[in-house]
Symmetry: C2
Subunit: 125 residues, 2 copies
């Protein structure tokens, strides 16, 4: 690893960017964040709103987002257990900034993207 130090300065600048892109590495994490965009949601509401996510994967995703400081967990001590999840300030800023920008890009270039992908898969077969 010592010789790699010579290269390190070349990509260390992108290290923080990597930490950010990794937030999108897990398929469902952005979807969960998007589902929390409009306010706190209970576990069950998230499952229903997202649709097609398994129980375990939702748990994994929430744990990662909690560990990343993007989501907060609030457990209410009630007879029927009630727990809801909400974006932290950090998570909200991620949604309002980059994810919104990505959403705008999709509305502008989404068609173009899908066309390019389809045309190449058509050739690829």
């Amino acid at each position: 690893m010592t010789e790699d130090d010579a290269h390190r300065h070349e990509w260390v600048a992108d290290c923080r960017l990597r930490a950010a892109t990794d937030l999108f590495a897990h398929t469902w994490d952005p979807v969960v964040l998007a589902a929390l965009r409009l306010g706190p949601r209970r576990r069950r509401e998230l499952r229903a709103a997202i649709g097609g996510i398994s129980d375990k994967v939702l748990t994994d995703s929430l744990h990662r987002l909690l560990a990343g400081g993007l989501v907060e967990r609030h457990a209410h001590a009630e007879a029927p257990p009630r727990v809801d999840y909400a974006l932290t300030g950090l998570g909200q800023s991620l949604v309002d900034g980059p994810m919104t920008a990505l959403g705008r890009w999709v509305t502008e270039h989404g068609e173009e993207l899908l066309e390019a992908q389809e045309s190449s898969t058509a050739e690829g077969l």
Copy 2:
């Protein structure tokens, strides 16, 4: 799958957003795009500029980006084979828009993100 159609309208709206977040799902794809940000690069230059990427992974990444219409390949018929890769208009728009927004977010909240991640891993042990 037929009963899922009832749920489909709930998340189909996020389908395009998913197609976009998937562009960041593969670890090295954003890095390669970032490396092409300032202009066309040869395969070897990319490997050196990125640092720490294996040959196969770079090939895979380039193939995905080519298939997605984000990158173009230009092969020059010369004695020493010369091939360079460049962003397409679509790829450039992705870099200029969402990726730049993500970069801005990182400069503003990167510290906060790393702190949150470290503090939780410290607890987690």
